[in-house]
Symmetry: C2
Subunit: 452 residues, 2 copies
Amino acid sequence: MASAANAISLSLSIAAASSSSSRRDNYSYSPESSCLSFRKPSGGVSLRLRPVTGASLATRRSSCIVHATSAPVMDPSPVSESGSAGAPTVVEVELGNRSYPIYIGSGLLNQPNLLQRHVHGKRVLVVTNETVAPLYLDRVVEALTQGNPNVTVESVVLPDGEKHKNMDVLMKVFDKAIESRLDRKSTFVALGGGVIGDMCGYAAASYLRGVNFIQIPTTLMSQVDSSVGGKTGINHPLGKNMIGAFYQPQSVLIDTDTLNTLPDRELASGISEVVKYGLIRDAEFFEWQEKNMSALLARDPSALAYAIKRSCENKAEIVSLDERETGLRATLNLGHTFGHAIETGFGYGQWFHGEAVAAGMVMAADLSYRLGWIDDSLVKRVRNILEQSRLPVAPPESITMEMFRSIMAVDKKVADGVLRLILLKGPLGNCVFTADYDRKALDDTLQEFCKS
Amino acid sequence: MASAANAISLSLSIAAASSSSSRRDNYSYSPESSCLSFRKPSGGVSLRLRPVTGASLATRRSSCIVHATSAPVMDPSPVSESGSAGAPTVVEVELGNRSYPIYIGSGLLNQPNLLQRHVHGKRVLVVTNETVAPLYLDRVVEALTQGNPNVTVESVVLPDGEKHKNMDVLMKVFDKAIESRLDRKSTFVALGGGVIGDMCGYAAASYLRGVNFIQIPTTLMSQVDSSVGGKTGINHPLGKNMIGAFYQPQSVLIDTDTLNTLPDRELASGISEVVKYGLIRDAEFFEWQEKNMSALLARDPSALAYAIKRSCENKAEIVSLDERETGLRATLNLGHTFGHAIETGFGYGQWFHGEAVAAGMVMAADLSYRLGWIDDSLVKRVRNILEQSRLPVAPPESITMEMFRSIMAVDKKVADGVLRLILLKGPLGNCVFTADYDRKALDDTLQEFCKS
Ligand SMILES: NC(=O)c1ccc[n+]([C@@H]2O[C@H](COP(=O)([O-])OP(=O)(O)OC[C@H]3O[C@@H](n4cnc5c(N)ncnc54)[C@H](O)[C@@H]3O)[C@@H](O)[C@H]2O)c1
Ligand SMILES: NC(=O)c1ccc[n+]([C@@H]2O[C@H](COP(=O)([O-])OP(=O)(O)OC[C@H]3O[C@@H](n4cnc5c(N)ncnc54)[C@H](O)[C@@H]3O)[C@@H](O)[C@H]2O)c1
Ligand SMILES: [Zn+2]
Ligand SMILES: [Zn+2]
């Protein structure tokens, strides 16, 4: 068992190493400053590659040693090496005695200590799904048990898909936990995308009224958004995410290598949320994305690590300031009101969430421009970056103005009958959450984007 | 609707007034000191009875004006009037920004402001069951809406019984909440015993990741124990209370008049927990109970209010010190390990929880005595007070030593294979939570109480 897992991690490390040089064409590395700067489209790259040694997994590091900086968000040199090679980038979510670290980097699943230091008690339950289990379950079990014979790891493999994010499937997690006699000191580990993270988190919040919980998100969407901030839950037949808990994990472990197996459309869906952070509060990050989108789409580990880090920093800061969404946190919903109408009107599962949000952000930008709140040029930049990410920039043709109007009328952000929207206002990186906008402009935007 | 509710509350108030004089034979009231002292078995009683006037329900008070003191637990004069007639006794549960009041008294359901001040938002969902709804639902709806036309009240009536404390029935609460379009600012109200309180609390914790929540406990068990402390949850087919949340209410409203409709056995079951508080930490309260048990069994409102108040104070103090049961809170389980074995071995629902706990407390006292930790006389006092409460003082004959041993081996309080017990040690009112006791003595206790 141990050697089989060794073999897997070894071969993946090598794969990452051998493919990395072809993906690095947008960077230049300066050994003097330990700083990697991005110059698109030209620029050679020099990478320090460390061979994978036979040393114990506990100390072995990934072969890809280019890591994102842990400098503050506004640092103008976006990517630099973070100290020793292979050390993960760490973003701290500040929530008093519920604060926790997010580890970001390539090959982190081969660093058992990152996981083990957050496991309390002797029993672990890994919650994953049919798609992710064959890809990563063995490695996670290995990382949990390597050099740690006292720990018993159980796993439960759920069916894949948003339609299984319900109470019946959640009960399977409880069944397994009780059959395995997991006690209050157990740790639940979510291994998968946002669906698994949300379900496992809610199960951890509820089992014996709360057990430890670790997130290992494996989609870009979950790495930049859903695994951070403590929102957990399941769907009710009558509404999405209606049942759940605010429940923070002990830690989040983001191994960017897991994105190598993610379908392109899923990757793009996550990029939509990355773009969102730039638009609502981080102009520099948006500019960085404009320069580095092709590296992201090519799954360059260091570009991904940087984009994930900066996304997590933005989300962590918002969550620290407004954990329970009394105001500020609502700005994370830029494009989501239009997007939600698209998801509902078009039928869930037709478009991915990030795709609907992309079209929604273009609509929000259009409306902001009509209100005179932003320049024409910003609308174009929003459209361009999303098009480059192969994301839709308009709703599907079948969605009518009337559908938008009726669905948006029952949005969660309607208060006392008035629809509040997140809109861009001022220079790039600024937004408002407001009910104070001209309804005529909204009508014009809907008219512009709908065939009927 | 409003006038029908008026009529109901009116007739109940009158009933309470006319029956109260016959129940007061253990008290003497001294108008000078505003102090009611308990002298059992003799002593006349003088009661100030206020007629129910036609004044608005918002200000009308119950006709029973004898109230428990809000003096600290150690106050030697246990019962006194708390300021103005009809004002509830208030016990505060101190939990920082999640602190909340417990209101205790007779006729409190006729004081709409006590409920209304804790309702946030405009929509309320009352969760109750088939037994309690016909008795009290109209009055609660009336108390919520009286003089408060902006509030809409919905209700959901669940089937009665521990066997319905499960996920399927919980979903009915969510169904109703979503159909009624309750938003994050809604308030859930639990109206019923511990089953309803635990379920409604967990639903409130989970609906939209948490909405406001008010407890109106209507059994003695829920008034002295389950409504205080924030443990909420449901059963899993494989175990009791396995799925839930720590979730504190906004307030707890205890109208002692609701106990008038409670069956005798249910009342006695609650008294078992009252006796427990005396034994584990409040000698004076135990002595008070010894003197006033017949008043409690006769449902004397002031005796009940005092017993409930002092129970809530004890529980609130323990919960403030150890909300998530890391140690101290475990002492609330005196007699519960033996009791749980009885409930499991005999079949759930055969004996009520408090009945099993009563037998369990006698066994714990017996074991404590065998260990040389308490006097013979204390064992007798435990047995006597429970017998007086018409509670069992030994397990059912069908439970064997072997059943005790095997069921207790998987108790939640087993840590690393060792069974920890709450046992009495020292003078009345002192207990320990320990794994450090002679197993031979435990065997002797089991032998003593089991036929085989
Ligand atoms: N909690 C929050 O704050 C929050 C925020 C945003 C979204 N969400 C929730 O997240 C969910 C969407 O998350 P998602 O986009 O990750 O969807 P998902 O979890 O359904 O994952 C998308 C698909 O990718 C597969 N997959 C996952 N990792 C893979 C990998 N490494 N390689 C190959 N395939 C992989 C999954 O099995 C699935 O088929 C929604 O349910 C949404 O409500 C929650
Ligand atoms: N959360 C906690 O800390 C905690 C503590 C102790 C017990 N509990 C839970 O509480 C439950 C037991 O509570 P319980 O003893 O109140 O049982 P219960 O809720 O089943 O109520 C007992 C019976 O009395 C009926 N009833 C309620 N109020 C009445 C009234 N005023 N008049 C007439 N009938 C009335 C009920 O419908 C029921 O049939 C268990 O599920 C237990 O797990 C929880
Ligand atoms: Zn989103
Ligand atoms: Zn109990």
